[in-house]
Subunit: 208 residues, 2 copies
């Protein structure tokens, strides 16, 4: 199976493996069994072996996987070898939280610009990153080389902004906006819906 | 199958169905086929029928589902009949973004308190909600009746705060903190890891 056609559940576990392998390396461990990776990742060992074999990687019997090799391999599968440039659209509390989020750079992402429509915010700097006007989106994307965007605008503005991002050449978007969006052709969108997450948790929070 | 043991993938689709049914009701539609619900939810029709049959609901052949009845039924399955009280731990940009997020109340959640450890923030009000000191967590949970919490603290503080929430009687937590947490017995934790979401998207953003 080519990496281009990794099944989404496998794809969604790869960042977990990267984190686990980086943790192991930090603790000086150079090899790890699939069971060890599985335990730290909270996944069944057979699933780990299956996921990694899809990437063309196999452990050595009795030894396991080489931690550094495997981490590099999973990173390549996720195309994390180069830092990805991220633009954050919407510089309210959420957009600023994403831009200031310390863990991004260590995990392969650089926030290269924020945009907003509020004149009180445009021109300011958030953690060293300039807030540009959203009208200049196409120019900002072109000049920064951003390929990923985080969508943190009000719901009413989301579809128009998504379309503008597609027109500007952004191909992947992480949206924090609830509700339905029509995804432009050729674009990948993942949605984090805080209320939906809480609704799922409320199932566990209540006695039936 | 009892609702207490709904499979997680079914459970995760229920908030989507609630949103779709509310949308249909707002547009004056009183009945809907499983195909229509499926289309709006982005799920296969057979999956919709299977999910809803797990809740003990079945459409009428040739008519479909009663939209209002079905919405009420799915809400009950999610135990959304009463407003759930939510405490937001960490009143930085992310915590404030969650507290100000307009969509929560409409979807059954009320943010009743924020907490923080920063004296510059404690005592302030965010969108009408007081920021209390995190040392008073147990008292805040007891006095507000919060059962859900949103964790928006720095990574180094996350485990201690999670344990304190468990000790205070909070049973479900939505965490925005990356990295591994040991989940206290009896607690349900869902993690939104922004960097992991971006890593998954980077797979789509790069040419192989």
């Amino acid at each position: 199976m080519s990496e281009r056609s990794l099944p989404p559940p496998t794809l969604e576990r790869l960042p977990v493996y990267v984190r686990v392998l980086d943790d192991l390396a930090r603790h000086g461990e150079t090899t790890a069994s699939s069971s060890r990776v599985a335990e730290l990742a909270g996944v069944a060992p057979a699933q780990v072996r299956k996921d990694l074999s899809r990437l063309g990687t196999y452990g050595t019997r009795g030894v396991g996987y080489d931690v550094a090799d495997l981490a590099a391999h999973v990173r390549r599968a996720l195309r994390l070898s180069d830092a990805h440039r991220v633009i954050v659209v919407g510089a309210g509390h959420l957009g600023q939280a994403v831009a200031r989020y310390g863990g991004l750079r260590a995990r392969g992402f650089e926030v290269v610009a924020l945009t907003d429509v509020d004149p009180a915010v445009v021109g300011r700097s958030v953690d060293g990153v300039l807030v540009r006007h959203e009208d200049d989106l196409a120019e900002v994307v072109a000049s920064t080389g951003a390929t990923l965007a985080v969508l943190a605008v009000p719901p009413g503005a989301a579809q128009g902004t998504l379309d503008a991002l597609a027109a500007a050449g952004v191909v992947s978007v992480l949206s924090f906006v609830p509700g339905r969006l029509t995804v432009p052709d050729g674009m990948a969108v993942r949605v984090v819906d805080v209320a939906a997450e809480l609704q799922i948790l409320s199932f566990y929070a209540s006695s039936p």
